[in-house]
């Protein structure tokens, strides 16, 4: 209760009172700022044929620490069917105990933490992926319906939101896309230089870098960057709205949160990722040119001509299709995980992480599918 009481320590004494009675005497200071004892140390004495417990107290001060000691002691006595006479306790202690006991105890279990083994949790996680399947398809369906409502003019695009998302996903990602594409272009050039020198065909670095960047790497790197940057932001934003019940507020008003929140984000990435892909390819080719002309001694015009000859429209088409697909799967993953978010702050973090993982997983799967598909078509 009071920090300026004298610092004397807690003291505890027990004595037998006529027949089978036990008296517990408390003196000194029983406050939480000391290491108070745990009542189970009295268990032995209580076991000794005792059927009645009385208290004697002369305390300089006490607080919840004392209260907890007594409360625990009462439980021990109850287990042993020992009758307790509380008269010797301070008035306040008796009243607080009475208040605590008056409240009904709920025999409910919370979800609590799981104590399952690692193997069990890994198994459940695997199953969760499959169980997630229907929900993922359902969400995809909702998005398609929303797009068709947009196409048939039943709903209108929210241009303000769209513009905001476009700006966020596109121009603001330029710097990081530039840096990464430049470095990837450089890596491709070195890789090519090493292998092609063996056959004396170093000029083909230009083909490798150009086709590699335009067909595959430009889109792939952009997709991964956008998954980490924008996909996670989508999930965090929608997740926070879920926590604040903002999404429920849309639902109760009969407004589809998909139309309102998901559609603009989908459209923004479907527009911006292909453009960023083109830009990334350009930067990568530039890096290849810089390395080849300065370090491997290839002529500037030679390299330029070789690049132009290597690229034709189909390569650009492949790159743009991939960019579009990656953009949609990233937007889809971000929105999905955001909308699935739980109702607390931890869940928002998990949604953001999960959005990135799902995004990259879907990019990789669609990259393989598309590569095989274009190969079969001969493009």
């Amino acid at each position: 209760m009071s920090r300026d009481d004298n610092r004397e320590r807690w003291q505890l004494q027990t004595s037998r009172t006529g027949g089978n009675g036990l008296e517990v005497a408390f003196t000194g200071r029983w406050c939480m700022d000391q290491a108070l004892p745990f009542p189970d140390r009295l268990a032995a004495e209580l076991a000794d044929g005792i059927d009645r417990l009385t208290f004697k107290t002369d305390l300089s001060s006490w607080d919840s620490g004392f209260l907890a000691f007594i409360s625990r002691l009462l439980k021990l006595c109850e287990e042993r069917k020992i009758r307790v006479e509380r008269e010797g306790l301070p008035e306040g202690v008796r009243q607080l105990l009475a208040m605590a006991e008056a409240a009904p105890v709920q025999k409910l279990a919370g979800t609590g933490q799981s104590d399952e083994s690692l193997l069990f949790r890994m198994g459940s996680a695997m199953l969760a992926v499959f169980r997630d399947g229907p929900a993922m398809l359902g969400f995809l369906g909702e998005i398609i319906i929303s797009f068709s409502r947009l196409a048939t003019g039943k709903i209108r695009m929210r241009w303000g939101d769209l513009w905001w998302e476009v700006e966020e996903a596109g121009p603001r990602a330029l710097l990081i896309v530039s840096v990464i594409s430049f470095l990837v272009g450089l890596i491709l050039a070195y890789l090519g230089a090493d292998q092609l020198r063996m056959v004396g065909a170093q000029i083909f670095i230009a083909d490798l870098v150009a086709i590699g960047m335009v067909r595959e790497v430009g889109a792939l790197m952009t997709g991964v960057i956008i998954a980490g940057r924008t996909g996670s932001a989508f999930a965090a934003k929608l997740g926070t709205m879920q926590v604040n019940e903002e999404i429920d507020a849309f639902r109760t008003l009969g407004i589809s949160p998909i139309d309102f929140l998901v559609l603009p984000r989908m459209v923004a990435l479907i527009l911006m990722v292909p453009l960023l892909t083109l830009y990334a390819s350009f930067v990568g080719i530039l890096a290849g040119l810089l390395i080849s002309t300065t370090i491997f001694g290839i002529g500037l015009f030679e390299y330029y001509n070789q690049t132009v000859a290597a690229l034709d429209l189909s390569h650009f088409m492949v790159g743009l299709v991939k960019g579009t697909v990656y953009g949609s799967v990233v937007a889809y993953s971000g929105c999905l995980r955001g909308m699935q978010c739980g109702r607390n702050a931890t869940a928002v973090g998990e949604a953001a992480t999960s959005a990135v993982v799902t995004g990259i997983l879907l990019i990789t799967i669609s990259a393989s599918v598309l590569t095989v598909f274009f190969y079969q078509l001969g493009i």
Partner: protein
């Protein structure tokens, strides 16, 4: 606390940037008071609370705890004062990644050397006192709004603070639980000698259990009355009377 005036406010002005919320506040909370801060929505009650508990420095004036200038003492003293305060936020502010029992145990484990068994016992006692016995394993997200309020009061009480500052404990509570809460507050004062500073709009609480008050006005941005609210109903400022009688007198 032995001092007669555990909390004294002198010429306090609180503001967000340039925007003054309340100015020239002067009032004293006595030991064992159940002190209520009254005022309409947006009058600055929560903001005042923030500067009383060390979250937002006032732009002018002083907050004295037992005569110590809360905002100008050295860091260690500031922290020592804060540890004697128990704070319940308007929104609950329970830590969402911890269960209720863990929410209550955290301050106890941080600041005492009690054995885990005794900590558990204190936790279940405090939960029982607010009528949440048996909910220790629940996460805050699994509770109703009113239950969160009560859990957050239990957390504020965890360390047996000298002064308990409570922002709207009974908003969202059903009448029985609101009544129970009033009884609990009275009991805390009787048994543990806790001084209570609370914000509430509940007229039964204001008139039933509070013995001292300050009335903040949103228009003039300063206090327009103080003292025992039971007397203010009859003799206070007209605005205060209107407020305390819901404009019916």
């Amino acid at each position: 606390m032995k001092a007669k005036h555990p909390l004294k406010i002198q010429n306090l002005t609180i503001a967000y940037g340039e925007k003054v919320i309340q100015r020239d506040l002067n009032f004293t909370v006595n030991t064992g008071d159940i002190f209520v801060i009254i005022g309409g929505n947006g009058s600055g009650k929560s903001t005042l609370m923030r500067s009383l508990v060390g979250l937002q420095p006032p732009t002018q004036g002083t907050v004295l705890y037992e005569g110590l200038d809360f905002w100008n003492v050295d860091h260690a003293e500031h922290e020592r004062i804060k540890r004697r305060l128990g704070v319940m936020f308007q929104g609950g502010a329970l830590w969402s990644s911890l269960t209720l029992a863990e929410n209550l145990a955290l301050p106890l484990n941080q600041y005492t050397d009690l054995s885990p068994g005794l900590v558990d016992e204190i936790v279940s006692l405090k939960l029982a006192l607010v009528g949440l016995a048996g909910y220790g394993d629940f996460y805050p997200a699994e509770l109703s709004g009113g239950m969160k309020k009560r859990a957050s009061l239990a957390r504020a009480m965890a360390l047996d603070p000298d002064i308990l500052l409570i922002d709207e404990p009974s908003a969202g509570l059903d009448p029985l639980n609101a009544r129970h809460l009033d009884n609990l507050i009275l009991e805390l004062r009787e048994s543990l000698g806790t001084t209570i500073v609370l914000v509430t709009h509940e007229l039964p609480s204001i008139l039933g259990i509070c013995n001292n008050s300050v009335f903040l006005d949103a228009e003039t941005r300063t206090m327009i009355d103080s003292g025992n609210p039971k007397e203010a109903v009859h003799s206070g400022d007209p605005k205060v009377r209107t407020f305390l009688t819901r404009g019916e007198a």
